[in-house]
Point group: C2
Chain length 246, copies 2
């Protein structure tokens, strides 16, 4: 399983992902799920991957190969970011179709779902979730975050706190807290945690952290959040039958 | 969908459930999911239901009918609480089997999953989750809570805070917070929220609340928890590149 998320803020974009890949409990490995592309100086694109690892890797390989071709649509040629999402969707559909018959026979699920985000100079940043079927949805002011994979455990805190006017550093902290809740609940989501911050109009990552289990930052966030949750719990209202005046 | 949970504490048991039942988005209704049984003065048993509503209702009807029979196993005749879980499991399997062929034909899922908890005098309280297949698992000191239905959204806070030595009122508050997180994330889980507190050796409910959307208690818990989470978020550690000394 996987947990990736991305937030679209007034100040820019935040991307975060775990790095655990599992094919059964006895085949657990670590793979990065965040890929950066800057095929020309006027654009910067990040892709987060989830789902079948073979599909994800082949799709990323094809996306890279298309950058070398002079005649093909690619992340280099698209004029709008939504066209990048459309294009990534077509690549996903093509990879899945190539292996569909064999996968069906073995009963395996070859589906993969990606997040595509970034900016093309002169236009605002954008964030899209691309489905295995090749279509997409965009983040919006009302729904400023998108999630991939094991999304439920980490969603309540996002729904509560994520707004587009959050500072980009606060959004990065929120992403860490959301991943922390997920890692604590599902063993198939695990470190290192990759965190990338893109500031509007910079056309490169402002920050890119890879936080492993020993990361002091990750530990500090976990401990403070745990402490804060316990404090919040301690301050909940009493039932009317409770007499102690805590 | 449904969200029910129960906690097993040193002081007793806490049961909580939402009351929303859906068969598609245009057929949303309210059904209680918490059922109490005291067939003889030496025992008190609570059942929480989830899954197919028809299966759940027929199973509860049969469990009640069996109480009138003099020759059948029932909640009246079992000697251990695990036997009550076994018995409820057999009823679930029988109801599902009776409708299996027709349900298969229509493509509907007739499965239901129950929580069975309570106490038989002279033995400790117990808490069991009974699967649609008729088998069960018990709560334990290491895992003092069981959940039914849409469990993921409300699990992180339980994993963090639930221990068997929590006071029973704290556990009831925790159950409300867990249900609040779930109701905020999934529209198919909704009020009224039913909350029941069973104190060890009392063989009756100490408290039984039905909290609708207007409930001042539910609103107060929601508001304080929201405030507490925001405070926890505000106090997360800064990244090393942040200069402001908040």
């Amino acid at each position: 399983m996987t947990y990736c998320l991305a937030l679209q803020l007034d100040e820019g974009l935040v991307f975060a992902s775990d790095s655990r890949t599992t094919a059964g409990v006895d085949f657990v490995s670590t793979y990065r799920k965040l890929f950066q592309f800057q095929p020309t100086p006027d654009r910067f694109i990040v892709i987060l991957t989830s789902g079948n690892l073979a599909t994800s890797q082949e799709a990323v390989d094809r996306i890279r190969r298309d950058l070398d071709a002079t005649d093909a649509t690619s992340l280099r040629t698209v004029k709008y970011l939504f066209e990048a999402a459309q294009y990534v969707g077509r690549v996903l559909v093509a990879v899945q179709a190539d292996h569909a018959a064999a996968l069906r026979e073995s009963g395996a699920d070859g589906k993969a779902t990606f997040i595509v985000g970034g900016q093309i100079a002169g236009r605002p940043p954008g964030l899209f979730l691309v489905y295995p079927e090749g279509n997409y949805i965009a983040a919006s002011p009302e729904t400023p975050f998108l999630q991939l994979g094991e999304f439920k455990y980490g969603k309540p805190v996002l729904s509560r706190i994520a707004t587009e006017n959050l500072s980009i550093d606060d959004a990065a902290r929120l992403a860490l807290v959301s991943i922390d809740a997920t890692m604590k609940s599902n063993l198939s989501v695990g470190p290192p945690v990759e965190l990338a911050i893109y500031r509007r109009d910079e056309l490169k990552l402002a920050r890119h952290l890879i936080l492993d289990e020993q990361s002091a930052l990750l530990k500090a966030v976990e401990q403070r959040w745990d402490h804060g949750m316990r404090e919040a719990f301690r301050h909940l209202p009493r039932f009317d039958w409770e007499t102690d005046a805590r």
